[in-house]
Every structure is written in C-alpha cells, then in structure tokens.
C-alpha cells in the first residue's frame, strides 16, 4: 500500500509496516521536548503524585524560553523549578537561556528525519521541517509520555500543499503561510498532516522550511512536514547530528491525500494579516497607509538567522521612522552570535533596533514586555489574537521580516519589494 510521509513516520513509531488514515495507534516517542511554562513546573507535581519515574531521561529535552528574563518572583520560581528538575531527573539536554525551544532543538542536531517527537508547545510542528513527525501536546499528556514513553494518535490524512516555481524576491515562507491560512482558514489543516512540497519548497533553506512547519499550528494541522533532502542533511550534519537517512522519508508518488492543492509560487505576494486573526490576510499593499508605532522582529516564527538577514537586507543604510519602536529579539543565542559575526546584527542596530533577549518575549505575552493599548504593531510573530501581546485594544498586524522591516522604515505598512529594488 502506497504511504504518505506522515503514514511512514507514524507506522515506524507504531512498529507497523503500514498504517491507514483514521486508525488509532500507539506510538513510541523518540523525543519529548518541554519548555519552562508547560514543562517541569507542571509535570513535576504530577510525577510525584504518581510516584513515577521518567521513562528515558535521554529522550527528554528541556529548554527555558517563556519566563526569561525572570524579572518577578513567580518567573524566578518557574525557572528555578526547571533547573532543579533536570538535575534531579538526569535530563542532560537542558538549554537555559539559549533561545526559543523550536529553534534550539534542531540547531543542536536533536531532530532527525524519521523521528517521532512531541513538544509541550503548540508550535512543535516546527520539527516537521526535518522530516520528523512532531506535534504539540499539553502538560498532562506530556506526563503520560514521560511515564509510559508512548502516546496515542489517530493516523492523519495528508493535505499536500504544492508550490511550483520559485518565490519572488522579497517574498518569504511567512507570506506563504499567511496566504494559506487566509485561503483555508485556521482550521484548514483539519488537525491532519500538512505536507509542503514542490520546487519552490525545495529551494528554501532549513529555517524557512521551519517557518512553514511552525505556522502549520495556525493552519490547524497537527503536523507540518517537508520531505528531507540534501539541504536537510547538510544542516543536520553542521548541527552535529551526523549522517542522516533521507531517502526512506518521502511520500510515495501514488499515496492518497485528503487534498492536493497546487500553487505557482511566483503568484504569491507579500502578505499581511490584520487584527485579530492570522486568517485576516491579504496582500501587504492593501494595508498600505496603516500607520504603525511598533515593528517587532521576534519569535520562533520570525527571528531566526534567516529572518534577521531578511530584515537586514531592507534595513541596510536605512533607519526606522521617527515614532516607530523597532524591537529585535533573535530567536536563539547562536543565531544572534552568527548575525553579530557576519554584520547582520550591526545593520539592525544601526537602523535603531532595540535588542531584546533570546526568548519568546512579547509574542507569548507572558512576561513584562507587554504592548499597551495605544500600540499598533507589525510583527513577524505567528498569532495576533486579541490581547495576546498585551492590552486587548492593541492592534497587531502580522507580516514577513521583509515586510516588518520595510514598514518600520516607512512608518506605515508597506510592500517591502519597493525597498529591495537596486
């Protein structure tokens, strides 16, 4: 029976030769990732109540990113609990203040094609960019994984999103996702596996593929997958993962999909999603003229090295407009250091950027950096639900790093391609 990539990944984890969409199976978990908010502070008391041990601490990764900087008593306690717990349990893969979990996980080479992984965060589908099946779960379900090493799954159908050709200059993975979410809605993924394919996807670097997989959360998919290839293998080799198998982790050509949508990547224009939903997306030019007072380059979705470089291409030799607060929170410490070495960070700083810690920051709306009621922001983040980033009256528009940077310079939302012309 021909199988999709999603079916092959689930079948392997369920120790089956094939699986059919809709079947309920039990899968063995290769990797369980948690952050400080949904992780130790929540699972520790539950493990104690059960007097249970973690099934395999070597398969657990803990990364602090939500409550850093820990600038109040509650945050300090949450972070302290994470630090103590990993020591008690013997979790060696602990990254504290080194960046946002979805970005740190692959940069350390922890993910490989063929793996079955869970994460205690809704943007966990990011891991699917590497040809792994990865999805988000809540803390209680994470407890179940920690105790048993297993999780149930309804074998997903696959929705194929195929993009032929190449994205135009100034158009990014973020635009692709805002386009798809606007077209199909935030439940368009139907909690199935969404597979991004085609020539235009193959041309993307790993961090751009991660943006696609990441925003599968906003498209309503359970997992967002990209077939691994030489780009994947090279990234992982550089990250210290060693040699990886890619050929086994491809959808069979004749495997059945729930839907197969075809697009010409050349037709995609820079997109902007208006408050209060990523599904309120349209071509950036249709919001031209909307004045902004914050431009936020941050989050796992929009502040990886590839994203910082996009912003820098626009901001080189330019400055943020008067009255616009340009905020940059690089998604990981390594990406920030790389950006600093190559000069990308310097360009952003010269443009007037305010450099923020390598954490979820204003995107999660958990910490002290909350937007006030007077804020009209354009942001590289994934969600603009009412009140998510601060006051319910604040207005958040979403765009690519190009669009956010260009809007910062113009002081109003604009199509960035004007500023990329030589």
């Amino acid at each position: 029976m021909a199988q999709t990539l999603a079916q092959k990944l689930v079948a392997r984890a369920a120790a089956r030769s094939t699986v059919a969409p809709g079947e309920i199976v039990t899968c063995k978990v290769d990797l369980a990732m948690m952050h400080d908010s949904g992780g130790p502070r929540r699972v520790k008391p539950m493990l104690e109540r059960l007097r249970a041990k973690v099934w395999d601490p070597k398969k657990v990764v803990v990364i602090t990113d939500h409550y850093l900087p820990a600038d109040d008593a509650e945050s300090r306690s949450i972070i302290a609990t994470a630090r103590e717990w990993v020591r008690e349990v013997g979790v060696e893969r602990f990254h504290d203040g080194e960046g946002i979990c979805h970005v740190v996980l692959p940069e350390r080479g922890y993910l490989k094609p063929g793996m079955f992984a869970v994460g205690g965060d809704s943007h966990s589908p990011t891991g699917g960019a590497f040809g792994a099946y990865m999805f988000g779960i809540g803390s209680t379900e994470m407890l179940g994984v920690l105790v048993t090493g297993e999780i149930w799954l309804k074998v997903p159908h696959t929705i194929a999103m195929e993009f032929g050709g190449a994205l135009p200059d100034g158009v990014a993975a973020k635009d692709v996702m805002l386009f798809l979410i606007g077209r199909f809605g935030m439940d368009g993924g139907q909690y199935q596996a969404v597979e991004y394919r085609g020539e235009a996807i193959g041309r993307l670097d790993m961090q751009e593929r991660m943006t696609l997989a990441n925003m599968t959360a906003e498209l309503g998919g359970q997992a967002g997958l990209v077939s691994p290839d030489t780009v994947t293998a090279e990234f992982l080799s550089a990250a210290g993962a060693g040699e990886v198998e890619v050929d086994a982790w491809q959808s069979d050509a004749d495997a059945q999909t729930l839907a197969h949508h075809h697009f010409d990547a050349a037709d995609i224009a820079p997109q902007v999603a208006a408050p209060d939903s990523p599904a309120n997306s349209a071509a950036a030019e249709s919001y031209g003229g909307t004045r902004v007072n914050v431009a936020y380059v941050g989050a796992c979705t929009g502040a990886k090295l590839a994203d910082l470089r996009m912003a820098a291409r626009i901001l080189k030799g330019r400055k943020a407009a008067k009255g616009v607060r340009l905020m940059v929170a690089p998604a990981s410490l390594r990406d920030q250091q790389h950006a600093e070495r190559e000069g990308t960070l310097g360009i952003l700083m010269d443009a007037g950027a305010e450099l923020l810690p390598n954490t979820c920051g204003a995107c999660a709306g958990y910490g002290s950096n909350q937007f006030g009621a007077d804020v009209v922001a354009i942001s590289t983040t994934a969600r603009n639900f009412k009140g998510r980033m601060g006051a319910p009256a604040s207005r958040i528009y979403l765009g690519s790093p190009y669009t956010v940077a260009a809007s910062a310079v113009a002081g109003r939302i604009c199509d960035p391609r004007e500023m990329l012309k030589p």
């Binding site: 809704s122 209680t140 439940d187 639900f385 009412k386 998510r388």
Partner: protein, 164 residues
C-alpha cells in the same frame, strides 16, 4: 440543569487562559477566563453550566490551562461545531467533556441543557430539541470516566503495581 453560555467561532486559548496570568495558579487564571470576550463570564458562570462554541473552539496554544480554567469554574461540558485538535485532547486528558455537535448553533444563550456525554446527546429543555453529537473516541472513554489522564494512570499503576 445546565445553563448554556454561547460564544462564536474561533474562541482562542489566549481568551480562555490569558498569557499575562499564566504564571499563576489555575484559581487565578480562571478568574480571567474569557474576560476579553465576556467580562462577566468568570464571575457569573455556575457549577454545571455548559459552554457552547462555534467552529474551531480552543485554537491556539497547547496551554491546557485553557481547558482547566473552564473545569475549575465548574463548567460541565463544552459543546462546539468543531474543536481545535490540541484543545480537544487537553480537555479529555483533564476530564472535561467536549462534545462535537454539528448543530451547536441551534443552542441559544441561557437555554437549559441536559448533557449525556456517554451517549453523545444534548437535550435542550428550553426548546425540547435533542441534538446528536459525535461520540468521544471509544479508546478514551475509560480515561474520561476515570476523570482524566492523571487519575487514569494512577488507577492503572495501582492495578499493575508498577511504579516504573
């Protein structure tokens, strides 16, 4: 008898469990549950009431406090045309009944409902109508009866005597 609280499509987890209170315990988060949509909800909802949503209820974050806050406030069940998959799993794991009801839009705010989660049926005492729901997946029913995943695991481990 349960009173219906009716909300629209796309009730998100930032509305159910606002980020700025996430560092606090569930009793504090619950006080702000749905305040951006209906500021009176958390103070007026009564034990046994039912929350009724439209499409894609619970979209957004993996934070299970979104479901836990409703349960903490005494909400008996959530009925919606469709649920975001992550919220659906979280709710059942926490022992909160979630019923997918294609005709949920027929329920009006304040209607008196009688919920039969096992049978997958809602009886609307105000209108006299009975609405069919998709059943909770059979492999999860025992967990739901046990009150969620934690008590379910507790029971299982007591039975097998394994503390692993």
């Amino acid at each position: 008898m349960s009173k219906a609280w009716v909300f629209g499509d796309n009730v998100d987890t930032d509305a159910l469990a606002p980020g700025k209170y996430m560092k606090l315990g569930i009793e504090d988060i619950a006080k702000h549950c749905l305040e951006s949509v209906d500021p009176a909800f958390a103070t007026r909802v009564e034990h046994g009431d039912v929350v009724v949503g439209g499409r894609n209820f619970g979209l957004g974050s993996s934070r299970e406090q979104a479901a836990a806050a409703l349960r903490h406030l005494g909400v008996e069940a959530v009925v919606a045309i469709s649920f975001a998959g992550l919220f659906y799993r979280n709710a059942l794991n926490l022992g909160l009944a979630v019923l997918t009801c294609p005709k949920a839009a027929r329920i009006r705010a304040g209607d008196a409902l009688q919920i039969d989660a096992e049978a997958g049926e809602i009886r609307n005492k105000t209108t006299g109508e009975t609405l069919a729901c998709e059943p909770i997946p059979s492999h999860l029913m025992e967990m739901v009866r046990d009150g969620g995943l934690l008590p379910h695991l507790e029971k299982r481990m007591a039975q097998t005597g394994s503390g692993r």
